[in-house]
């Protein structure tokens, strides 16, 4: 076949931020407040309940705080502000994602 094609890319440019490092970890969980972030998938409350109980059994003095995601897309506006206020009050967050 003698045909030759010069072709353009179909991929859209994306404004993906430069990779950023994770926040520093905690040196210990003892006495800290662990936030439990619950998405609205059916299994999430049950999973986080077991997480809470198991952490409590292994980590003396750990405390918990829950945040319930009202739907399953990104938080915006007032909801985001409420979420940020909640994050400010905890030391770390465990979230259940992916069904």
């Amino acid at each position: 076949m003698t045909d030759r094609y010069e072709v353009l890319s179909p991929v859209g440019e994306a404004e993906i931020p430069e990779p950023r490092r994770n926040a520093p970890r905690l040196d210990r969980l003892e006495g800290r407040v662990v936030g439990l972030f619950e998405n609205n998938k059916r299994a999430a409350p049950g999973i986080l309940e077991v997480v809470e109980r198991e952490l409590r059994a292994r980590v003396p003095g750990v405390r918990f705080s829950r945040f319930r995601h009202p739907h399953n897309r990104e938080l915006l506006g007032e909801e985001l502000l409420a979420f940020r206020r909640w994050v400010a009050e905890v030391d770390a967050v465990v979230g259940a994602v992916g069904d």
Binding site: R4, E6, I16, P17, F37, V51, E74
Partner: protein, 452 residues
């Protein structure tokens, strides 16, 4: 996932507890937000689990990893691997020519790059893309939308590249652009549906004069292969979704079984044979305007009418809603013959929908939201007799749109989405270029001879 990234941004450690099947999906979502090393702990709890025992087992197995993820500092090799994964994930954004080769080579290269749906594409050469751009007066670098999950820039030119690949004609471009605008309207919940396990496909109804201008099939077999406009417009939308939005099957698109509607799912309303006002008029547009309307179904039910009197037609629709589909956005597809029978009874589109909603009832225990203990008492052997044991399949007629389409016969159809998200039908106007008339004349002849 996005919310856990927010936690990291606020300087607090986060960990995502994630079903093992969704690992790549979770990492991809974190990368989009610039946190490729966000810690994901995999668990083996069955998806959407409802039994305590398997949740217990799955979480206990993973709890040690959760503690480590919150306390062990980020390791250098962990970081480098994450950055490498992110770099490898961003190919092809380059402008200009990205590949040279013969037809087969171009097709294989594009397939290997993950840029096609597995079927042959038309090579998007600069010349073909330039011709495609005659379909719009918008500037090539005009940004129509940012498409999730990558938030890729859907410029007019990139949309045109994907339209060429799909086999679309320049006359199809304005419809494709309008459909992209409709998808990103927040009311459509595109970002959720395009990646969900439910395998939802964009369903596109085209209204107005543009249907005839581009030769869209509004009649027999409108949703089958065979017509270039229906086929290529829908395929172009899906390629835009894949290549600009960045949805890869099995990674971002977690549809469990998949959906052949994702090849293309585009039809025109048969306005000429409909006794009622067309969908876009119902949505607030003028009859002489052209428009596209979209939503995301994953279920297709076709049913022979139980009778041809108005009540039987309504009953056929009402009785065939699967019980798990409560309160779901729905399209009723109705052939012109049935529409006329209902119109002759004096019913408007809205009246037909209202009656369907009124009649459609499902036994309560068949709702997915009913705990199994309750269902025990009501075995399927004894269907409930009391009114309070039945519940409406839809609570709001606004969830349903009736579209007149299709050919002779007696089938009725429902395309059904979900009631989980508060999504709505979205309609956008199709904007035609100034030279539209000439463009239509140029491409009008490309039709199969048996339809002529």
């Amino acid at each position: 996932m996005y919310n856990l990234v927010e936690v990291e941004k606020l300087g607090k450690p986060a960990v995502a507890l994630c079903n093992v099947g969704f690992a790549a999906d979770a990492r991809s979502a974190a990368m989009v937000k610039g946190y490729p090393a966000l810690r994901v702990v995999l668990e083996r709890v069955p998806c959407e689990a409802t039994d305590g025992e398997s949740i217990e087992r799955g979480v206990v197995e993973a709890i040690g990893e959760v503690i480590r993820a919150l306390t062990v500092p980020l390791q250098e090799e962990e970081w480098e691997e994450a950055v490498g994964r992110m770099a490898a994930w961003r190919p092809g954004e380059a402008r200009g020519v990205v590949y040279r080769g013969n037809y087969e080579e171009v097709n294989r290269y594009f397939y290997r790059m993950g840029w096609t749906d597995g079927l042959p594409i038309v090579p998007p050469t600069p010349r073909a893309v330039e011709e495609m751009l005659r379909g719009t007066d918008l500037e090539p670098d005009h940004v129509v939308a940012h498409l999730p999950p990558r938030m890729g820039k859907a410029t007019v030119e990139k949309i045109a590249v994907n339209a060429v690949m799909a086999g679309a004609l320049p006359t199809h471009l304005p419809v494709i652009i309008a459909a992209v605008e409709a998808l990103v309207d927040p009311s459509a919940w595109y970002g959720t549906y395009q990646v969900s396990t439910g395998s939802w496909a964009p369903f596109v109804v085209v209204n107005g004069p543009v249907r005839r201008d581009v030769g869209l099939n509004c009649s027999s077999g409108a949703l089958s292969p065979g017509n270039m406009a229906n086929a290529a417009i829908g395929r172009a939308i899906r390629l835009v979704d894949r290549n600009i939005g960045g949805v890869r099957p099995g990674i971002e698109d977690m549809g469990v079984f998949g959906n052949p509607g994702k090849y293309t799912l585009v039809l025109g309303e048969n306005e000429e044979e409909s006794p009622w006002e067309p969908l876009h008029v119902e949505q607030g547009f003028g009859r002489e305007e052209s428009a596209v309307s979209v939503f995301f179904p994953n279920t297709y039910v076709q049913a022979v009418a139980m009778g041809t009197d108005p009540e039987s037609l309504v009953l056929t629709l009402a009785r065939n809603v699967p019980a798990g589909k409560r309160n779901a956005l729905t399209a009723i597809l109705m052939i012109p013959d049935h529409a006329r029978i209902l119109a002759q009874a004096g019913w408007s589109k809205q009246e037909v929908v209202r009656r369907v909603v009124e009649v459609a009832r499902i036994p309560r225990y068949r709702s997915p939201y009913m705990p199994p203990e309750r269902a025990e008492g009501l075995s399927p052997r004894e269907l409930p007799q009391r009114e309070e044991d039945w519940m409406p399949a839809w609570t709001d007629p606004a969830q349903i749109r009736l579209v007149v389409t299709g050919g002779p016969g007696s089938f009725m159809a429902l395309w059904i989405s979900s009631g989980l998200m508060p999504a709505r039908w979205v309609t956008k106007r199709v904007r035609l270029p100034k030279a539209w008339g000439r463009l239509v004349v140029r491409y009008r002849g490309i039709v199969p001879r048996h339809t002529g």
